[in-house]
């Protein structure tokens, strides 16, 4: 049944061309081999929207972790984050860990925090308003979400600059590996020493902040160890910062270079930043893959994925599925065949329209989805308001890249120079 018209060579996943433009490979996989067994990397690759969605929804067959979640586990020996919530698979412990912090990132908790997000955005933009020319990634986007999350945690504001440094080393270690990994682990250790007294303090005295809440949380009367608290914080700093800062840069890249015509619409109606966010998450999301492990044999489209197999859910490919979205390779903020508003963890909407897959779906749907959107939209709107009529400084741009899609390297422009009058 599978017509492999143009077979995919698994080494293509490791090629520089794939990191720059993976979309032709995605299309060949969707068309010719949607349940692809990559024997070279020993994993399975899902690329159609329907299949990626189904795997996200099916926690009984697809687990985030490969080991027994109730079994023994050596914590974070080589992981930049140290022990963290993402390693707990589909277990109750994962849900418990998420519930400790989840209501800070959605609903009322987030609404109450929005004035602080606005204040931090205003401070950063104020700093650059006289420059008339900035490199967005360094001047704004890598600065903003990390300051928001450290504020939310309750870390002292005077230490924010130090945190930005540690944070940058952490995410470089995560994205690039090698010597960056060593620097990332060194930054993690410095951060951990710094956090010790702050954690101690919260073990003794109640603090009404996120760090206090993490320290005080109990499961069956047991609190997290210091290492678990730190792993949690490192994850929040990196996951709550890195993805969002790259989302902001990607939105601006698409407005400046991909659709300058639609940027004019946004300048007239800043509420459209919400649409820019949604379409960016579909067209070329910051993260393109999520990994799952099968808990049993899974039959799909006439093939059988064996038990304990690694499965790559290519949400970046599902988002370009022509079976779901018209003209999937066109960036269009006025799209009528996709839910453009706020995302749902369920991936289901009252409108019956499909949503983008950029945050995943279901059990491991991005915890910070609502906050990420708020941050990206608030910062972008304020920045545009300050600039008025911004334009790219250079006509040619190398485009959105990633160090390595398969090792979780996030897709983003290296630099983004903008000027205004």
């Amino acid at each position: 049944m599978t017509d492999i018209a143009v077979p995919v060579d698994p080494r293509e996943f490791d090629s520089p061309e794939f990191q720059r433009d993976p979309f032709p490979v995605y299309r060949r996989l969707r068309d010719n081999d949607p349940i692809y067994h990559d024997r070279f990397h020993n994993r399975w690759v899902l690329t159609r929207y329907e299949d990626v969605d189904a795997a996200f929804q099916d926690n009984e067959s697809f687990d985030r972790a490969v080991y027994d979640p109730d079994g023994p586990y050596e914590f974070g020996s080589s992981h930049v984050f140290g022990p963290n919530i993402l390693e707990y698979g589909n277990s109750d412990r994962h849900r418990w860990l998420r519930n400790i912090v989840a209501n800070q990132f959605v609903g009322k908790g987030l609404t109450e925090f929005i004035p602080i997000i606005e204040q931090i955005a205003a401070e950063l933009i104020d700093k650059v308003s006289d420059d008339k020319r900035i490199e967005l990634v360094e001047a704004v986007s890598t600065q903003f979400p990390i300051r928001v999350i450290s504020n939310m945690l309750g870390l002292p504001r005077e230490d924010e600059d130090t945190f930005v440094g540690w944070y940058q080393a952490l995410i470089a270690g995560l994205g690039f590996g090698g010597e960056h990994l060593a620097r990332g682990i060194a930054a993690r250790n410095e951060m951990w020493s710094y956090l010790d007294p702050l954690i101690d303090d919260r073990r003794r005295v109640h603090h009404d902040d996120l760090l206090g809440r993490i320290v005080e949380a109990e499961l069956d009367g047991v609190r997290m160890s210091d290492d678990e608290v730190k792993g949690f914080i490192a994850l929040l700093l990196a996951a709550g910062g890195d993805t969002t800062d790259k989302a902001i840069a990607n939105m601006w890249f698409h407005m400046l270079y991909t659709r300058p015509d639609q940027f004019e619409d946004v300048k007239r109606d800043p509420a459209l930043w919400d649409n820019v966010f949604a379409e960016m998450m579909r067209y070329d999301a910051v993260v393109h893959i999520q990994t799952r492990y099968t808990t049993r044999e899974v039959p799909m489209r006439g093939k059988v994925i064996p038990e304990r197999a690694q499965v790559r859910l290519y949400l970046g490919a599902g988002n370009r599925d022509e079976r779901v979205f018209a003209d999937p390779d066109t960036f269009d903020i006025h799209r009528t065949d996709m839910h453009m508003g706020r995302e749902n963890r369920s991936g289901r909407y009252r409108s019956q329209l499909p949503g983008h897959l950029g945050f995943g779906i279901g059990q491991h749907f991005c915890m910070g989805y609502a906050m990420a959107r708020q941050e990206a939209v608030i910062a972008s709107a304020k920045l545009l308001e300050m600039m008025g009529d911004p334009r790219p400084t250079v006509a040619d741009h190398e485009g959105i890249i990633s160090p390595s899609i398969d090792s979780g390297g996030f897709r983003t422009p290296r630099e983004l120079w903008i000027e205004w009058d």
Binding site: R95, R98, N99, A102, V106, G107, R342, N344, R345, Y349
Partner: protein, 63 residues
């Protein structure tokens, strides 16, 4: 106490179901449904948590 879900307000976010699968589920029409008719004290705490992560404010505790 028991759970009340306002289906007109609900946007199908699914937060309650994924965070508290023992208490909330999907019915045959893919609408959220409370799975436990009468809540224990522990379950009330869990429902309060579900209320706090519900983005549409569709969940309530009633006597």
């Amino acid at each position: 106490m028991r759970v009340q879900i306002d289906l007109d307000a609900c946007i199908l976010a699914g937060e309650c179901i994924y965070n508290h699968p023992a208490l909330f589920g999907w019915d045959e029409h893919d609408q959220p449904v409370a799975l436990v008719p009468e809540l224990t004290a522990d379950q009330v705490g869990a429902v309060e948590q579900a209320i706090s992560v519900c983005p549409s404010g569709a969940i309530a505790l009633v006597d």
